[in-house]
């Protein structure tokens, strides 16, 4: 099946992300574009639903198949929802590669951050800083996107695990829909409640945490997730301790390389490619 497409001008590769809003996805796209232009002869297109929604992501997959895809690089919204659509896609001869987050359906390769592990790393960083201040107990607040996004839920869970067996109390997670202003309000409420540490599970949540700490004074320690200009400036000013920076460009770049290898029938190596996180602090910026 793939041969027919090839004749009419290279491989058709689609990148399908969760939505189109985050800088994160843009960086995945950039990486993929870079690899595509390096490799040449690839008809590459980025499809994304307007909002994060399983049904809409499935529609995107169906559309990509209808559009004659040879391969799909997918950032799955959740592990289960898309599996049947992927089965249909594979039935139509489409190769599947996961970037950022995988679904429960076998694929060529998964290139992702291990969100649970990264969440735990964030937790450990926070514990280390609190202990350094002599704080060994108290309340901890978590701000996340919503309870339906698998990746942030995994970060939240990893973060909570890091506190197992310690004297800290983890309060009910607050969901801000990724809205930095709402996260700021929620963080301020947490601070009023007397928390000693705060965790933001994505970019918007982290910005809110940082701003709330900046205003309340630095008695509370904040850690976050993702890298953006605003987050970096909050780290520089000491309002955030650190952030877990993912490498979305690597996901896109390496993902595209894997895709082309798979389409050419070459070996792609291990089925899991950890793109890693780096802990960014004031010191290593």
């Amino acid at each position: 099946q793939g041969a027919k497409e090839q004749a009419s001008g290279g491989y058709k590769v689609y990148l399908i992300t969760m939505d189109q809003m985050d800088q994160h996805w843009v960086n995945v796209d950039k990486g993929a574009q870079k690899a595509a232009s390096e490799l040449g002869g690839i008809d590459y297109k980025w499809l994304a639903p307007d909002i994060k929604d399983d049904a809409k992501q499935i529609e995107c997959i169906n559309n990509a198949v209808a559009g004659g895809a040879d391969a799909i690089m997918l950032a799955a919204n959740g592990p289960t929802a898309v599996t049947a659509a992927l089965k249909e896609a594979e039935g139509a001869g489409v190769k599947i590669i996961y970037v950022d987050s995988a679904a429960n359906y076998p694929a060529v390769q998964t290139l992702a951050t291990d969100n649970t592990a990264a969440g735990a790393t964030a937790g450990k960083e926070l514990i280390k800083a609190l202990n350094a201040k002599g704080v060994t107990s108290g309340k901890i607040g978590i701000i996340s996107v919503n309870s339906a996004t698998a990746s942030t839920v995994a970060r939240e869970n990893g973060f909570r695990k890091a506190f197992d067996g310690l004297q800290f109390t983890l309060l009910e997670t607050q969901y801000c829909d990724g809205d930095a202003a709402r996260s700021k309000d929620m963080s301020a409420n947490f601070i009023t409640q007397g928390v000693v540490g705060l965790f933001g599970a994505n970019e918007g949540s982290t910005v809110g945490v940082g701003n709330a700490i900046a205003e309340a004074g630095k008695s509370v320690i904040g850690v976050g997730f993702d890298k953006s200009d605003m987050i970096l400036s909050l780290i520089k000013s000491g309002n955030l301790l650190c952030t877990m920076a993912q490498n979305p460009d690597v996901m896109g770049y390496e993902g595209m390389k894997t895709t082309v290898k798979a389409l050419k029938g070459e070996s792609v190596g291990a089925s899991y490619f950890d793109t890693g996180v780096s802990v960014l602090t004031k010191n290593n910026l």
Partner: protein, 337 residues
């Protein structure tokens, strides 16, 4: 008093409110052709099947919203009921319930929300916007609490039949989802046009007081409209959980607005008393074609939003302009919400 019965064209043109339907049908055809020219894949039979399957849920919720709008009310809870239906059905199936039992219980829960809407609006006389804003929030809460604040796991192999029935299967070469939408459309169109209940739904939307004084049971007619709305939302929720094979708490977000858009583009008046389900089909199709076509055209979300917004406004504006050629009285009627 002409003999318009003879000529079928005249007969169609004599249907109340057909004007807007025809205007937007032309719009739909133009849109489709434009997208097809931009990207020939759009005309492929595979994409047409796909497109129809994407239009089906919008059509279904459009039917529900049209019923409610015709009574002169509005239903903001549609999206949340979709979410509730998706989560309740999936949660039960992951816990091993028989799909049929799960569907029945889900339906009961959704209809309860519909009944609550109807009673709050007609019996307790709350403004429908606020009553359904309340139930919208409550139903979303129920969707979230159904599986204890998590999306469900996979509904599993046992429910494959369920998934095929609502989404993946085909009957006579057409996806089941399309069949479901078509059959329900025929039924609800028949009820609206040919039964007493349908007549009463138009009557209360046109003039509540006059209908009441004529002995129409206003409460029961309002309830029926909201129950239809909850019913189709429930079906869409089931389609969603069949599509995903799991329950997602966010499912159906903003669907109430899509439903209003589909209805109103198709000529259903937000003032009540006026509208045809034929129009809703065209409205839903325009919505579907836009979403699908813009994605193929590779437009970024921002541009997509701007184009959709403009088309929503222009399609209704066109109708107003077309109608304004025909005297002022009707225009006045559409002036306020």
């Amino acid at each position: 008093m002409e003999r318009e019965r003879r000529n079928p064209v005249k007969k169609v043109l004599a249907i109340r409110g057909i004007g807007q339907v025809l205007t937007v049908t032309v719009g739909l055809i133009v849109l489709y052709v434009v997208f097809g020219i931009m990207n020939p894949v759009f005309f492929s039979s595979r994409n047409i099947a796909n497109l129809l399957r994407q239009i089906a849920p919008i059509l279904l919720i459009g039917i529900g919203q049209s019923y409610v709008l015709i009574t002169g009310n509005i239903d903001l809870s549609i999206g949340s009921v979709v979410g509730m239906s998706c989560m309740i059905s999936a949660t039960m199936m992951t816990k091993g319930a028989n799909p049929i039992v799960a569907v029945i219980i889900t339906m009961i829960c959704c209809l309860a929300i519909g009944l609550a809407n109807g009673l709050l609006v007609s019996f307790a006389k709350l403004p429908p916007f606020i009553a359904t804003l309340g139930t919208m929030t409550i139903a979303r809460g129920i969707a979230q609490i159904a599986n204890n604040n998590y999306n469900t796991d996979s509904i599993g192999e046992a429910a494959q039949g369920f998934r095929d029935f609502f989404y993946y299967g085909k009957t006579m070469g057409l996806y089941n989802t399309i069949w479901i939408a078509a059959v329900l459309w025929i039924i609800f169109n028949f009820i609206l046009n040919r039964t007493k209940s349908g007549r009463h739904i138009y009557a209360i939307g046109s003039n509540l007081e006059a209908a009441r004084l004529s002995g129409v049971n206003v409460i029961s007619a309002t309830n029926k409209a909201y129950l239809v709305s909850a019913f189709v939302s429930c079906v869409v929720g089931l389609i969603t959980s069949a599509t995903s094979g799991m329950g997602t708490m966010d499912a159906g977000n903003s669907y109430e607005l899509y439903a209003v858009a589909a209805s109103v583009i198709g000529g259903v008046s937000t003032l009540g008393g006026q509208g045809l389900l034929f129009g809703t089909v065209i409205g839903a199709s325009i919505w579907g074609v836009l979403q699908n076509g813009l994605q193929f055209a590779g437009a970024p979300v921002a541009i997509r939003n701007i184009v959709i917004g403009i088309i929503v406004v222009v399609s209704v504006l066109l109708d107003v302009i077309v109608r304004s050629g025909k005297g002022t009285r009707k225009k006045k009627a559409t002036a306020s919400m």
